[in-house]
């Protein structure tokens, strides 16, 4: 990677993720081996020490995310990478990171669940777990790449959003994107925007309130920080019975993300203001939409799409725009309807929402299958 020149690489998705983590300034990685995410741990174990960073394999996923949270409070940009089963184990600490406003990145390379499922095969079944996996009222930021290049870009973005909003960010990749190899052109690193958390001024004392996104000190700097996952006031002091303190805290934690949903939401769109049929897609499944749109065009059908790069907070405005134009919206997913209901909620009757689902064996939804669905829906 070069500071001044753009370079082209032939990378595996997980390799792009590891490279991007280093570029984003990640200095701490803790993880536990799991297919199909292990390459990220292996590559960061090689790369991070060379930059003075730490990579450590922990005893399980609970310890991995726990160490990531600790490292973040010690001032390091930190990350873990896992897949479905490990992601399930991490949920409690993801809630803790949200409650304590601890920036960190959790990469979930999705595989086929539930449970051990088909461990080496691709799936998109963790969409709602990313949104609602931990207990309590929670707002997640979740990003979903559909190419190796984008896995690089969204890894950087995940760190930037985590640091900017002081919150855990989930990078929801999938086995196909993580294991495929393709070309990635990386901008000169000096052109890549890197965001770092805002540090407090020397005499500041409120690290958990007063402002929408409070400044974050590190331990060992003399601030006497009290970090707790219990309900706390602006100064980190526990208030475990006061209704007002809880409302104030949890409403702010949610609104600091929801109020910026439009800013966070990133999509790729095509023809959303001029189409009969719309598609809302994300991750590896969305690789089929380009060809399907072309196929439909040759048959005289205008198809538009919204490709979600940000899944949570859900890009409501853009999907609503599509729903106002298109008569029908198809939601292809490698799960049994997860984004589908979200689209239906946003469309709110202004477009018919149809699902195209496929699970098992890691088989992708092909452009042909999607084309067929488009043509069939145009007929009815």
């Amino acid at each position: 990677m070069s500071k001044k020149e753009a370079n082209t690489y032939f990378w595996q998705g997980n390799e792009a993720c590891a490279q991007a983590a280093v570029t984003a300034g990640c200095r701490f990685f803790a993880g536990y081996p799991i297919t199909p995410a292990s390459e990220i741990a292996e590559l960061l174990s090689e790369k991070l020490p060379k930059t003075g960073g730490i990579a450590i394999q922990m005893e399980d996923e609970l310890a991995s995310i726990g160490a990531v949270v600790g490292a973040s409070w010690a001032g390091a940009k930190s990350m873990t990478a896992t897949s479905g089963p490990g992601f399930s184990l991490m949920q409690e600490t993801i809630g803790y990171a949200f409650m304590t406003e601890t920036p960190c990145v959790i990469v979930d390379v999705q595989r086929l669940g539930p449970s051990t499922g088909q461990a080496t095969k691709c799936g998109q079944g963790d969409v709602m777990q990313a949104r609602w996996g931990t207990h309590g009222d929670y707002t997640a930021i979740t990003l979903s790449p559909n190419s190796v290049q984008e896995l690089f870009e969204l890894t950087i973005k995940a760190f930037n959003l985590a640091e900017k909003y002081r919150t855990p960010v989930i990078l929801l990749a999938d086995e196909t994107i993580a294991h495929m190899r393709e070309r990635a052109t990386i901008q000169p690193t000096e052109n890549i925007e890197i965001i770092n958390r805002r540090k407090p001024k020397p005499n500041e004392k409120a690290f958990f309130g007063l402002e929408e996104i409070p400044p974050m000190p590190s331990v060992g700097e003399g601030y006497n920080i009290a970090v707790t996952g219990s309900t706390h006031n602006e100064y980190g002091i526990r208030y475990t019975a006061d209704p007002k303190v809880h409302r104030q805290l949890v409403e702010r934690l949610n609104s600091k993300i929801q109020n910026h949903a439009e800013e966070i939401a990133e999509t790729e769109t095509h023809n959303i203001n001029d189409c009969q049929i719309g598609i809302v897609s994300f991750g590896c499944t969305s690789r089929a939409i380009y060809e399907a749109v072309e196929n439909a065009k040759t048959k005289g059908l205008a198809v538009g799409y919204v490709r979600l790069k940000t899944i949570w907070p859900f890009p409501e405005k853009t999907v609503k725009e599509l729903a106002e134009t298109a008569e029908k919206i198809i939601v292809p997913e490698m799960n049994l309807r997860q984004i589908f209901y979200e689209v239906q909620r946003i469309a709110d009757g202004s477009a018919d929402v149809l699902s195209l689902n496929k699970i098992g064996g890691g088989e992708l939804i092909t452009p042909e299958e999607l084309t067929e669905k488009i043509m069939e829906s145009a007929k009815n």
Partner: protein
Amino acid sequence: MTETFSIKKYLRDLPLPFCPGCGAMTVMSEFLRAVHELGHEDLSKFVFCSGIGCSAWIPSPHFMADSVHTLHGRSIPAATGIKLIKPNVNVVIFGGDGDIVGIGLSHFIHAARRNLDILVIMVNNMIYGMTGGQVAPTTPFKSKTTTTPYGSFEHPLDAARLAVTAGASYVARWTTAQPNELRESIKKALQLQGFRFIEATSQCPTAFGRRAGFKDAGEMLRWFKANTIPFEEAKNMTEEDLTRKIVVGEFTQRKRLTLVETMYRMIEEAKTKVEEDGD
């Protein structure tokens, strides 16, 4: 000692949460006295981590210091991240037996194996106190608890012996009936490197003593005194003789490479390799 000393200089001005007679108060004050005797005017050289349970409240938020109050059982992972990123801070964990060797047991063993440079002070009250007195992995055999109304049918875990086996640099156990020994041990441990574990067997008159047949904290302390066996003496006793006894003393003190040493040595080697080979 004639000097007047108050632990208040290390504390936030907040009411303490402990029940009357709770042993956590002894552990808290002996720790702070140890810190004072080592010459620390404040706690700025320390970072405290704790999990969930009564003794997790010893440092958080009461100590005027950095404290990271984690989830149940996860203080050691958080401490791992903190210590590796900031090797110069003194990381101390307070936790109960349920937190450290119940739900968090795996982290405890692995931190000792890695010889992670932290001090873990486990307040072993032999019960899940905060949740109302349920059986713990450390509850003595046959003790009545809310979830063992006919008496515990499980053998308790010897956390100190386990820490030795797993690789800790320093391991000691004292009871709250021996505050001086406890304090001296804390002072010693604070000056050593690697994984240091001090178990303070402690009374919980509210959630344990009451059901186990003790009328108050004083009676529990007398029970500790009558049932402690020095480590050296215990070596010649059978497992049966030691049932419901508390072995106290220093279980080990040894030098092993610590995680911070091995990690940073590896990092230096990796950096040197980059300089030699290029990246």
